[in-house]
């Protein structure tokens, strides 16, 4: 009985969660003139792919998609590597001033991006790096968020595991790659999703640093759909739906690792 109730609860919650996305999908399929009405003026009969075709027409869609994808993938890989390494150091390698350094790492999360954008722009300008892929990517090479998340995970790995490896004569690099990394796979998979999302949805920084259309990323392209006086909501919704897809795919992929990890970790 309690089980059925719980299941019903999960299903009901899922419906509530699904609702906005369903709404976005429906709006994206609605003819331009009929969007945003209450109740939505949508029937299967007047469904149209206009929103999606307009999306392809009004911007160099595939180019933008390619930019966003590779930047997000590169930044995710960078963040995973740099964060996991730092996490290992902060969890397993004692050194004087470690706490203070970790505080500095965390402190980088505490100043709003809105005031960092201008100084960072000026800095990039002095390196002559404005309007480059590297400039879009730079702020997402390292992530204090990731270091923190992964440090928590590394600290949960029982120390006996490393100690056993040390007895076998393994150095820190081998312990890191052979013992710790496999054990923190759920956290790595989780962070991969967030790292990807952070880059994929990044808006303010690419907006100011990019000026050539060929570097344009998806959030910038979608923002361009909002005119000064009018907005084609069906196109905006089509863009929003499309922009969710890569993250969902990544999520489904990563989720397997989150679950599989226990079986493989040898913790049982």
């Amino acid at each position: 009985m309690a089980k059925t109730l719980k299941y019903a609860l999960v299903v009901l919650g899922a419906l509530i969660m699904l609702f906005p996305f369903a709404w976005a999908v429906i709006t994206s399929l609605t003819p331009a003139g009929a969007v945003l009405q209450t109740p939505p003026d949508f029937t299967p009969d007047n469904a149209t792919l206009d929103g999606y075709t307009r999306l392809l027409e009004t911007m160099p869609f595939w180019r933008i998609m390619f930019n966003s994808l590779w930047i997000a993938v590169a930044s995710t890989v960078f963040q995973l590597v740099t964060s996991a390494m730092a996490a290992y150091a902060f969890a397993r390698l004692p050194f004087p001033g470690r706490g203070a350094l970790f505080a500095v790492y965390l402190a980088t999360l505490m100043v709003p991006l809105q005031v960092l954008v201008v100084p960072l722009f000026i800095e990039m300008r002095t390196f002559n790096l404005t309007d480059t892929y590297f400039a879009i990517l730079a702020p997402t090479i390292a992530s204090a968020f990731g270091v923190f998340l992964l440090r928590q995970a590394v600290r949960q790995v029982p120390k006996e595991f490393d100690e056993a490896a040390v007895l076998d004569g393994a150095g820190h690099f081998r312990i890191f790659t052979l013992v710790v990394l496999p054990l923190i796979r759920p956290a790595l998979a989780t962070f991969a999703i967030f790292g990807f999302m952070a880059s994929w949805n990044s808006y303010l920084w690419p907006l100011v640093i990019i000026r050539s259309p060929e570097f344009m990323t998806l959030p910038l392209g979608l923002a361009n759909l909002h005119g000064q006086f009018t907005t084609e909501w069906n196109v905006v919704m089509a863009g929003s739906v499309v922009s969710v897809v890569p993250i969902l795919i990544l999520y489904l992929f990563a989720q397997k690792h989150v679950i599989a990890s226990v079986a493989q970790s040898g913790l049982k």
């Binding site: 730092a86 709003p112 201008v118 923190f148």
Partner: protein, 309 residues
């Protein structure tokens, strides 16, 4: 300023090494840290220093900076707008954090056990996290529309009159809290799920054998073993909560009547709309000070409740 939570550990665990080995150890530490430290220094810490410098100036971005010393800070500390902005931000956190943590934990517990379609449900609950705030805000404003929204329609069925939600200064912040908690449930869920995966099943089985009921197992085994993840969620949610911006910017823009004017919304307006970048930077550093103090308290306090196994 240090966040060293276990100074004893360092002294005890750092074995005395001969100089060559010490050098090697230092190199090892450096190799592990530099890949993250260098980019953070270049692309975050240097801009932070830049904004600290900016905070001592009057600057509209398009004319040269003018030195004003600590005037920006003095003005902000005595300004009612600043007090209100911090008040609204705290209000947001006080509503959002318990809601999103309790909800996320409940979800993670529910979706951690075997059930039909579990993976699908997890994906569905994660969907709002990946949907952009532009879409989510539009939707919630529609759901919470005082005149034609579904929520007030349902309240009306119960014979009550629904509030004005985001059009009413008293209800605007609760509306934003509701939408934010809804959107971020999946974020907390996925982190706690990863934490739950790390809890060895035999601990819970052992407790079951000892006759502990479900609540006792949750309270005595799961919750303590989940504490590192909880700690992470609370610290990060607080850091992010203090910097709440996107949802406010797209849902109410700080209104109505300034009721949702949070700190970062003010920072954004000052920098990019009003050409007062110096004050914006100073305000950000005030925010920084608050967040830092709160975080230090948490890190210092974690010894009492966080269990690293």
């Amino acid at each position: 300023m240090t966040l060293t939570e276990t100074p004893v550990e360092q002294v005890a665990k750092q074995p005395v090494r001969p100089p060559r080995k010490r050098l090697r150890y230092a190199l090892t530490v450096a190799v592990f840290l530099l890949p993250s430290a260098v980019p953070l220094l270049l692309f975050t810490l240097i801009p932070m220093a830049g904004s600290l410098w900016t905070s001592l100036h009057e600057w509209n971005l398009i004319t040269p900076m003018r030195w004003v010393g600590l005037d920006n800070y003095a003005d902000l500390l005595t300004s009612e707008e600043t007090h209100a902005a911090f008040g609204h931000t705290l209000y947001f956190i006080a509503g959002y954090l318990p809601l999103v943590y309790a909800g996320g934990l409940g979800l993670a517990m529910l979706l951690n056990r075997a059930m039909k379609g579990r993976d699908l449900f997890r994906a569905i609950y994660f969907l709002p996290v990946v949907t952009s705030w532009v879409v989510v805000a539009l939707l919630w404003k529609w759901l919470l529309n005082p005149a034609s929204g579904i929520v007030n329609w349902a309240i009306g069925l119960a014979g009550l009159e629904g509030p004005g939600w985001w059009t009413d200064p008293d209800w605007a912040m609760p509306s934003i809290i509701l939408a934010s908690a809804w959107k971020d449930l999946g974020f907390v869920m996925i982190i706690l799920l990863a934490g739950l995966q790390a809890i060895p099943n035999e601990y819970i089985e052992a407790a079951r054998v000892d006759g502990a009921n479900a609540w006792q197992r949750f309270r005595r085994i799961t919750l303590p073993l989940l504490s590192p993840s909880t700690f992470f969620v609370v610290v990060i949610s607080l850091i992010n909560g203090f910097q709440v911006f996107d949802q406010v910017h797209v849902m109410t823009g700080g209104g109505p009547a300034g009721a949702t004017q949070v700190v970062v919304e003010q920072v954004y307006n000052l920098t990019f709309k009003y050409g007062r970048a110096g004050e914006a930077s100073a305000l950000s550093w005030l925010l920084f000070a608050v967040v830092l103090v709160v975080t230090i308290f948490q890190v210092r306090g974690q010894r009492r409740w966080v269990n690293y196994g």
